[in-house]
Structure formats: structure tokens, C-alpha cells
């Protein structure tokens, strides 16, 4: 760092020529750097604008040919083979089916693990369990897809439910559940840990057991944070691509049967991108309409979850 000049040290206003030049240079550098930093910040804003514009532009193009009514209410999805059908509902139902299975696994497991880590586990146990959760969260999603297809379906599902398709919603849902489990556990644990100690002490003082304190005092107090973790996990599950593209199959059908092959929105986008559909065709534009639907769904889920997060922050901080 530059040492202060004598003039500055004496506190006089009048500075010598070179010193003044240096001051000017410093100020110019300062402005330049602020400009560079603002430009960098603009990139992330531009990314959002870019995503929204691309999706809107291509989706509007698509809706010029296919009516939104047909798209959102049709129950048949077959844009690549004639007779062409453009009803997105089977893709949405496939997505929600997989996400529901995932949540059904991640929600109870994640919450119990969170309660265990926040209320029961000794620091030593915590320091063993937490890294496992971190590693689980860091496993690439394509690996979960491999696991679903080559282990979960043949070794767990098919022995229990004979006749299950090689590709099925259940195996995809199970691995996506494992994938979002660390997220539910970590966020819920943070919410539980944020509950003031005084609340626990008061309940213990009234004679409640540890379980009663945990389930009737701490969990209700942290409820908005816990709900936020569920919704965020739901959003992750809805947007998950690789595991689902590998394990869930590519049969867009309107079904609630988890042993059948389904197709999710992300799975469809992946399928078309890998195929040889011409890029300017209406068939290719379907992926942007589907992508827009996906984007809006996850955005709504994320915003709702942020509202819940803000609520628990307001109460205890």
C-alpha cells in the first residue's frame, strides 16, 4: 500500500503535483473497478433475462402453431410420430409421479435425520453422519440413474413387485428421493437448530420428555423452515433430468402406476435433444414449451419456499 504523502500527513489541503496526479489515478482506478464489478454483476441479471426471453420467444413461436388449449388440456403426447398429439398432461403427470415418490422418501427420512442430528446426536456422531450426507449430495445425478436402472429395479423392485417394467417411475422416484434427502435433512436441521434453547428448557421444565420437546415444541417452532425444505426438494425433484431420463423411461402416458414406464418433462427434453429432430421444426420447439412449463413450475415452488424461509427467519432472528 502507498505510504501517505507528507502533505496528507500534515493535514494540509494543498498537495504537490505528483501526489495530486497519484490521487487522480487512484480515483480513476476506483471508478474503473467499480464499473468492472457492476458489469460482472450484470451477467447474472442478464442470465435471468436471457432464460426468460429464450423460453418466451420460442414458446410463443410454438403456440402460433399449436393452441395453448390443446397443449395444456390434451391427454396425449406424441409430437414426434403421427398422428401428432400435443397434450402436455402426460409429461406433467409423469414428472409429478416421480417427484411425489421422491418426496415420500425424502420427507420422512430427511425430517427424522434432521431431528436426530439437531436434538439427539452427540457431536461425534454428527461429525460422522454429516460428511455422509455431503457426499450423497455431491454424487452426480447420472450416477443415481445408473444405480436406479442396474441395482434398484432388478434387485429391489422386481423381486418385490414382479412384472415391473425395466424402466419405471418407482426406481427413478426412489433415487431422486435419495438425491434430495441431504437437502431436506440439512435445511430442516438448520431450522431446528435456530429454535431458541429457552423454548426447549421451558418444555423440559414443565416435565416433557425429550421426544415431546422435540416433536411438540421444536418441530412446530421450526415448521416453516421444514416446509421450505420439502418444497425446495420438490422443486429439485421436478427439475431433475439425468436420473429420470435413464430410469423412468420414455413413454408419455397418463398414469399413476409407479411400476410402469413414464416420461417426465425433463426426460422428454433430453430425448428430443439427443435425437435427430431438425432444430427449426415445430417438433423441436416443443422442448421450449415444455421447458417453459417446467421453469414456471420450479420458479413457483422456489418462491413459495423462500416465503417460508423468510417467515422462520423473522420469528427467531
Amino acid at each position: 500500500m502507498a505510504a501517505p504523502t507528507k502533505a496528507v500527513a500534515r493535514g494540509t489541503r494543498r498537495t504537490s503535483g505528483p501526489a495530486r496526479a497519484r490521487q487522480r489515478r487512484r480515483r480513476a482506478t476506483e471508478r474503473l473497478i467499480a464499473g468492472v464489478l457492476i458489469t460482472a454483476t450484470a451477467v447474472s441479471v442478464l442470465t435471468t433475462i436471457g432464460i426468460v426471453l429464450v423460453l418466451i420467444f420460442e414458446t410463443v413461436e410454438f403456440f402460433r402453431h399449436i393452441s395453448p388449449w390443446e397443449f395444456f388440456t390434451g391427454t396425449e403426447w406424441a409430437p414426434l410420430i403421427s398422428p401428432r398429439q400435443y397434450g402436455v398432461l402426460p409429461l406433467i403427470s409423469g414428472t409429478l409421479l416421480v417427484a411425489a415418490i421422491a418426496i415420500a422418501i425424502a420427507m420422512p427420512l430427511g425430517l427424522v435425520i434432521a431431528i436426530y442430528l439437531a436434538e439427539y446426536a452427540r457431536p461425534r456422531t454428527r461429525s460422522i453422519v454429516k460428511p455422509f450426507l455431503e457426499i450423497l449430495a455431491g454424487v452426480p445425478t447420472v450416477v443415481f440413474g445408473f444405480f436406479a436402472l442396474t441395482f434398484v429395479t432388478p434387485n429391489l423392485i422386481q423381486p418385490l413387485i414382479p412384472g415391473t417394467n425395466v424402466f419405471n417411475a418407482l426406481s427413478a422416484g426412489i433415487v431422486v428421493g435419495l438425491m434430495v434427502l441431504p437437502m431436506v435433512a440439512t435445511i430442516s436441521e438448520d431450522a431446528l437448530a435456530a429454535v431458541p434453547r429457552a423454548l426447549r428448557e421451558a418444555a423440559h421444565g414443565l416435565g416433557a420428555t425429550k421426544l415431546e420437546v422435540s416433536l411438540r415444541v421444536v418441530v412446530p417452532a421450526a415448521l416453516s423452515g421444514i416446509i421450505a425444505s420439502f418444497i425446495l426438494a420438490m422443486s429439485r425433484a421436478v427439475g431433475e433430468t439425468m436420473a429420470v431420463a435413464i430410469a423412468a423411461g420414455s413413454t408419455p402416458v397418463l398414469t399413476l402406476d409407479p411400476t410402469r414406464s413414464v416420461q417426465t418433462m425433463t426426460g422428454y427434453i433430453a430425448q428430443v435433444s439427443l435425437g435427430d429432430t431438425p432444430q427449426n421444426s415445430i417438433e423441436f420447439k416443443t422442448i421450449f414449451a415444455v421447458g417453459m412449463t417446467l421453469f414456471v413450475m420450479t420458479l413457483v415452488l422456489n418462491i413459495v419456499s423462500q416465503m417460508f424461509v423468510r417467515r422462520y427467519r423473522n420469528v427467531y432472528q
Partner: protein
């Protein structure tokens, strides 16, 4: 509240035995849930290792993909992944850290700042395949980079940018403000303060966060499906504008084949990918531990 009904009070029993029994039962439930979580990770890793280890060899690491599983290798995919990681480092780290500095050290709190912050939070939650669509429309088509390494790298860089920003912000926020005040009081400008004092203090934290973002980047495949459509790459990328493939995509292609032999080499490729991630995370943990030891406040 009104007076508590005496009848209720008289009927109240502590039921201590039942209550402590349900407490013990719940603890068992806790153990079970935690065990399921840990066990599934162990099974996943063990299953992959058992299936993948036999095919791992020097040939596998140095061969190109082939129509025959036995002759296939991960060379193109592994090199593609490393190049991609390099682009992500060069693009998203400076951008992300600069954004974090702006938001933490320069921006005045207000509506605009809040909007940018919310926006970054939301970007982190956008499904990765949507970034692929952005990349396809902007990098591949509008900037006509074609289906090149550069287009893929930029797409993934944009994808991990919010993660880099959020991590870097946390690291910068952890630097005590007394450090800033001291520097500013001695006549340093804002940037001089940031460059000479805040950044060096925050650097270990920033590095840890960015390495974690990088491991996310390396495992990501969904956006690249839209960017790199060539499934069969039997050469190394020659430059930024060459076509490419990456490990997760190679794994996806092999898993999607019906033959068992390809599933087996997919497992081997997963082991290569996991080894790469493990190395990165080990570096991150090393940096984090060192920074903890050298932290002086």
C-alpha cells in the same frame, strides 16, 4: 384462561413408562433413518465399484469410445471434462467473485440490491436442463459457436455462477469489518481495502466454495445434452471451437445401451468420474482446514 376443570386434573396420569418407551422407540427410528441414508450411499458406491473395477485398466483410460464395449475407453470424455472444467474456472470464478465483491462491498442496500440478490437465489434453483436451452439459443446459435467446447463450457459456467457468487459472498461476509475500517481509516480507497485486506482474508473460504461449485460443474450432464449432440467422439478436442464430450454424457450414453457390457464400462467411467470429484473435494477440504488454522480473528 378459565379455571382448569378439576375433573381433568384428577384424571391426568403421568404415564411415565409409556412416554419413555415411545422416546426410546423414536430414537430407534432415528437410528434406522440415518442408517438407511448412510447405507444407500454405501450400497451405491459398492455396487458401482464391484461392477466397474474389473474393466478399469490403462487401456480403458487411454482409449476412445468404440462400438465394442471391450475396446471402449474414456479418454475423449475425461479430457473433455478437464477442458470444460478449465473454461468454467476461467469464466465463472472471476465473474462470480467480482459479483460477490460488488454485492458485499460496493452495492448500497436498497431495492435494486435486493432484486439482484433474489435473482441470484432464484437462478440457483433453475433446473439445469433449462440452462442447456439458454446455451443452445445464445451460445450455440446466436453467437454461432456451434456445438463446441466453448459453448458447453460457457453454459456450465453460467450454471454454476450463482453457486460461486453465493459461496464467495458468505466468505467475504465472514471477514470482520474491523479489518475494513482500519484500512479505510488509514486512507486506503475502497478497492485497495478489498484487494489488500478483505480478499486475502476471505480467499480460503472463497476457494473452498468455488471448488465445490467446480465439482458440481463436473458432474453436470443435463445442459450438455442440448449442447453436444455428437454421441460418438473418437478424438480429442483440438481447440475451443471443436466438438467434445464429457464423462457424465459418456456414462449416460453407455447406460442407455441395452447391452450389459456397456453398463459395466459405464460403471468404470463412473469410477473415473468419482475419482476426479474425490480429488477435487479433498483439495477443498485441505484448503478449508488450512484456512481454519490460519484464521486469526
Amino acid at each position: 384462561m378459565t379455571v382448569a376443570p378439576l375433573a381433568v386434573a384428577a384424571r391426568w396420569r403421568p404415564r411415565l413408562a409409556t412416554r419413555s418407551r415411545s422416546g426410546r422407540a423414536f430414537l430407534l427410528l432415528c437410528y434406522a433413518a440415518t442408517a438407511i441414508g448412510i447405507l444407500s450411499l454405501v450400497v451405491l458406491l459398492a455396487d458401482t465399484a464391484i461392477k466397474g473395477a474389473p474393466q478399469l485398466s490403462w487401456e480403458f483410460l487411454t482409449s476412445y469410445p468404440s462400438r465394442f464395449a471391450a475396446r471402449s475407453g474414456v479418454l475423449a470424455a475425461a479430457v473433455g471434462t478437464l477442458y470444460l472444467a478449465l473454461i468454467v474456472i476461467v469464466v465463472s470464478f472471476p465473474l462470480g467473485i467480482a459479483t460477490a465483491i460488488y454485492l458485499e462491498e460496493y452495492a448500497k442496500p436498497g431495492l435494486l440490491n435486493r432484486i439482484v440478490q433474489t435473482n441470484i437465489g432464484n437462478l440457483a434453483g433453475v433446473p439445469s436442463i433449462i440452462y442447456g436451452m439458454l446455451g443452445l439459443a445464445v451460445f450455440v446459435r446466436a453467437l454461432s459457436l456451434q456445438r463446441s467446447l466453448l459453448a458447453g463450457g460457457l453454459t456450465i459456467a453460467v450454471l454454476v455462477l450463482p453457486i460461486v457468487i453465493i459461496n464467495a459472498q458468505e466468505a467475504i461476509r465472514a471477514v470482520p469489518s474491523s479489518l475494513r475500517h482500519a484500512s479505510l481509516a488509514l486512507g486506503a480507497t475502497r478497492w485497495e481495502t478489498v484487494w489488500h485486506h478483505v480478499l486475502p482474508a476471505a480467499l480460503p473460504g472463497v476457494l473452498t466454495g468455488t471448488i465445490l461449485a467446480l465439482s458440481r460443474a463436473i458432474g453436470e450432464a443435463a445442459p450438455i445434452i442440448l449442447i453436444s449432440s455428437i454421441a460418438f467422439i473418437a478424438f480429442l478436442p483440438d481447440g475451443l471451437l471443436d466438438s467434445f464430450t464429457i464423462l457424465p454424457i459418456q456414462i449416460f450414453i453407455w447406460v442407455s445401451k441395452p447391452q450389459e457390457a456397456f453398463h459395466a464400462i459405464a460403471a468404470s467411467a463412473i469410477l473415473v468420474l468419482l475419482a476426479l470429484l474425490l480429488t477435487l473435494n479433498a483439495i477443498a477440504i485441505f484448503v478449508r482446514d488450512r484456512s481454519r488454522r490460519s484464521a486469526q480473528w
